[in-house]
Amino acid sequence: MTNYAYVSLIPLLPLACFVVLGLWGRKRFKTFSGIVGTGSLLASTILSFYTAYQYFFVDGKVNGVYQHIIAMKYTWLQFSPNVSIDMGIMLDPISVMMIVVVTFISLMVHVFSLGYMKGEERFATYYAFLSLFTFSMLGLVLSTNIFQIYMFWELVGVSSYLLIGYYFDKPSAVAASKKAFIVTRFADLGFLIGILILAFHAETLDISTLIERLTDHQSTQFVSITTGSLLGVSILTWGLTLVFIGGAGKSAMFPLHIWLPDAMEGPTPVSALIHAATMVVAGVYLVARLFPVYSIDGAALDIVTYVGAFSALLAAVIACTQTDIKRVLAYSTMSQIGYMMFSLGVSRYGGENGLGFMASMFHLFTHAFFKSLLFLGAGAVIHLVHSNDMKDMGGLRKFMPVTHISFLIACLAISGIPPFAGFFSKEEILTAAFDSNKLIYGVALFTSGLTAFYMFRLYFSIFWKKESHLHNAHGEGTSTMKIPLIILAVCAVIAGLLPFSNFITSDGAALETHINLVFSIAPVLLALGGILLAANLYKTENNKPEKVAAALGGFYKAAHSKFYVDEVYIFVTKKIVFNLIGRPAAWIDKNIVDGLMNLIASVTEKISELIKGLQSGKVQSYTLYFFAGIVGLAAVFIYLWK
């Protein structure tokens, strides 16, 4: 067995980079910061690939199963003799896959940003935050302890906050960063309480032990968590659902998705990072990490399934109506993450039943490439036209050939056209859904058609449609911006050809899968139909889109307004939380609670005013009181002794 202690360097290098750039970047490194950040991440990436090689090919399987390896573990905070937070590194197929994806995509973003962010005043800070983001996500995926996940989870949240609010003098960026943090924080509350519940019953925070105890039907912990119930729902379901709420927040599942479209206020390469490799896949990863426990609880899995499928559909519908290219991509992310979620939901543990799990991870893997490619491409476009709105674009294919071709590849990949990467993973998801739940299959199929439509609507609107009048022919930007696009485009073509099911399955054993050609006819035809429809509507300038929109009437308007979810949130926060809870609390404190204190003080003062007259210093009145007292006492004594 290899000694995997060096794996700790993979997250620690970005951390060191964050500290160094954070403390001295602005003054010492300046424009050199980008090189420092990219260099350290390159080292991490190489180590990740080396780790994957070691793990999958050198150590390989033991008894046909990939092992869970605890590369290191330190007790970080001991709560009680058997419950502690440990900091450690766990290697298993999904964590190894994730470190490769995270470091690779992050590296592409780092390289792209060298050109994209050139000349920014806070260039060093930007790279420091990128490093922090990468560090947090790496720490998250390598966790051995559920509380370790929670900690890095929060760090992911704050790094995204810092990056979304990078343009801090723009009020919209500040609002978006706040929104992202608060919405995910709200979801994290569910995660936290879920952890408290699971940890209390499992009597541990260690992931492996927790899974072991909660899946063993004989263990006392299992009995304790399944016999108890609250409101007719078992404690296990409560715990898992609450944990899933945390995951749904980070992964932008309905109704916690509202932060994601606004998160594009950050620099575009950051969106690529958030949408492809970090943050939004964290929720999927969380469910996958605890999947053995989820798989024994049908109710919790159903919630995952339906939330995922509904989000996939809802986001796809909204994406068809948006005109901001980053918003379209944001909703497409939400939709694709929905696929990953329901794919986990329809899966079971082990063997052929675990197809959904494998498909979900596969889709996470392929999606990372084409989604980062789409965002970086969008970044290059925005860099050229200085606008996010597709109305300001059109005919750009002549000005930016590399971006054009790579964007087209990514669109084909996300639409599930063979032989691009998305086709393979989406096929597996559809098969898994078909095998277990026909309703979900139907939704997934319809959504894949919509996906092709809105992606090509985007593609044609940017690169075709009208002839552009751009006069500045400075083109696509620096080579540091083009190279990542090319690399990612290559990945988006070939990533699907990996024999993924040999490596990553629910139980670690290889899974036989094959593409059923007959089965793939329907989704591919639907996707092609979507593309043709988009070409018909958007390839040239015409008034058909307006007509379609008018024909759809209220539905179009509702979708365009994102189904008013934001308005509901604003109503709840402004009208209810602020006006009905916050304001009265502040008022009560000032007037009633403090008023009571002031009342006590003023009553005391009044009483002293009253009795201070007695201490007048006049001997005559003292003598009077004295005699009155004697008479009074005498009267009492005489009366009592009678």
Binding site: R26, T75, W76, L77, Q78, F79, S80, V83, I85, F147, Y150, M151, F152, E154, L155, V158, Y161, G165, F168, D169, P171, V174, A175, S177, K178, F181, I182, R185, F186, D188, L189, L192, I193, L196, A199, F200, F578, I581, G582, R583, A585, A586, I588, D589, V593, D594, L596, M597, A601
Partner: protein, 501 residues
């Protein structure tokens, strides 16, 4: 090591200050005094570790006792365990940071620094006392300077605030004193002689009815210092009127006297009553946490924001104590240390902003990050610590309280824990609101463009506090190991007595 030095040294510094002239001399002497305090606290920490490592399992280390007033058996009895050490270290950090933050205090500097140093003497004395009367004496020593610091060097409606603070804290002291006397007259160390000695009292079993009678006095009395709902109203007014260093001392040290007293005196010596009344404590603490957080959300003045958030955060201390599990009590102590450092940092940041912009109103500030990256970063760090971000001390302390509270399986206590957890969302709302409006966003006033970033003393003070926060946040195990044996003793003692009954 004779730990009485911790009291003697500040007193000597204070006396030396009386012979100084001018700001320069005064602040130099104060700085030297504060630095020596910090060194002393660290020496004590190291010696304590060594003693423990060498296998000394005595409850209190470095004990010494001097007869003070023989007829009533009042002794100057001092000693420390892990909890006191943590508090002493906290105090020394804040004193040094406070002195540095007052570097340019040119209004009656001699008197100002004299009072600050005197306050620290009171705090150290309080934390090392093992005699209830001595403890009470030092509690009073720590109250009086605050009245003067706010009344003379304060701002806004300072007379009102100073008076309110002094009266409420004096009221608290009076309650504490009743509680202490109640304990005293129910002790018997042979021959009908009573005792104020904390360790001696802990060995006796105070009758349950007596405990139930005097526990509320002691707990509520100390609770007033620790912002117990509904006696917290001195906090917002007191803090907002106080000068920066006094705010730091007030929130960082004085409020901890309360939590420490609730734990060390009320809960430790009267465990039966603590058990019987724990639901009230939990109820009031939960109210303070949630209601404080919501009240914070509506504040518009940075100092009020931090003061109300202190009410909410100090609620965690009382919640941890009220939950009566070992983990939750450990969490309560951690929260005291964490909150002390964090809130001092917050007040330091607010002070730096106020001294430049001359306003603390959130709506009038904006875009400070552009001109003052250091100060703004400090402000953001304090905010992130306050909202419980991992890597900072607040997270560690809050999570320990939550984990400990959840171990109390009673349904009502569970609900209280969930409500307390919910405050992390509200905290995020008000912190991000304050951060978003004051340091981010467009620059609201063109006068701000010419403002200077932090000076060396301010950087030093903030850096010191940040080091403390991050040291706990990244490596909490040392603090945990320091505190756990002491909380273990308290819990075992409580369990023994409660089950004996």
């Amino acid at each position: 090591m004779n730990i009485s030095l911790l009291v003697i040294l500040p007193i000597l510094t204070a006396v030396a200050l009386l012979f100084c002239n001018g700001l320069k001399q005064v602040r130099t002497v104060s700085l030297i005094g504060a630095t020596v305090q910090l060194a002393l606290a660290f020496a004590l920490l190291i010696l304590y570790w060594n003693e423990r490592a060498a296998g000394n399992t005595a409850q209190m280390l470095f004990e010494s006792s001097y007869t003070w007033f023989a007829p009533l058996h009042i002794n100057f009895h001092v000693g420390v365990d892990g909890i006191s050490i943590a508090m002493i270290a906290l105090t020394s950090f804040i004193v040094l940071a406070g002195v540095l933050m007052s570097w340019k205090e040119d209004r009656m500097p001699k008197e100002f620094f004299f009072l600050l140093i005197l306050l620290s003497a009171g705090a150290y004395g309080f934390f090392i006392s093992l005699d209830l009367f001595t403890m009470f004496f030092f509690l009073e020593v720590a109250v009086i300077p605050k009245f003067l610091l706010i009344g003379i060097w304060g701002s806004g409606k300072k007379e009102y605030s100073a008076m309110k603070l002094a009266l409420m804290l004096m009221g608290g002291s009076a309650l504490v004193f009743v509680g202490l006397l109640g304990l005293y007259f129910n002790t018997d160390i042979g021959g009908g002689v009573h005792s104020f000695d904390l360790l001696q009292i802990s060995q006796m079993h105070i009758p349950v009815e007596v405990q139930k009678m005097f526990f509320p006095f002691a707990f509520a009395g100390f609770g007033i210092f620790g912002a117990l709902f509904p006696f917290h109203t001195w906090v917002p007014d007191g803090h907002s009127s106080a000068p920066t260093a006094a705010s730091m001392f007030l929130a960082g040290i004085s409020m901890k006297l309360g939590g420490y007293g609730c734990l060390r005196v009320a809960t430790y010596l009267m465990p039966d009553a603590a058990h019987a009344y724990s639901w009230i404590i939990v109820l009031l603490a939960t109210i303070a946490i949630i209601y404080g957080a919501f009240a914070t959300m509506m504040q518009t003045d940075l100092k009020y924001i931090n003061a109300y958030s202190s009410v909410s955060h100090c609620g965690f201390v009382l919640l941890g104590i009220g939950m009566l599990t070992q983990t939750s009590i450990t969490g309560a102590v951690m929260q005291m240390v964490s909150h002390g450092l964090m809130t001092a940092l917050f007040f330091a940041a607010i002070g730096m902003i106020y001294s430049r912009t001359h306003t603390r109103m959130v709506a009038q500030l904006g875009g400070l990050l552009k001109m003052m990256p250091f100060i703004s970063t400090v402000f953001v760090i304090a905010g992130l610590c306050s909202l419980g971000l991992p890597g900072f001390s607040g997270f560690v302390a809050e999570m320990t309280v939550f984990m400990g509270s959840w171990q109390n399986p009673d349904t009502m206590y569970r609900i209280a824990t969930i409500l307390a957890c919910a405050s992390i969302v509200v905290t995020a709302v008000y912190i991000l609101r304050a951060v978003g409006q004051s340091v981010m966003g467009p620059v609201t006033d063109s006068h701000y463009l010419g403002l200077k970033d932090a000076s060396w003393n301010e950087k030093f003070a903030a850096g010191l506090l940040i080091i403390g926060i991050v040291a706990i946040g990244i490596a909490p195990f040392w603090l945990n190991e320091l505190i756990t044996p002491a909380t273990d003793t308290i819990m075992q003692h409580a369990v023994k007595l409660v089950t004996l009954k």
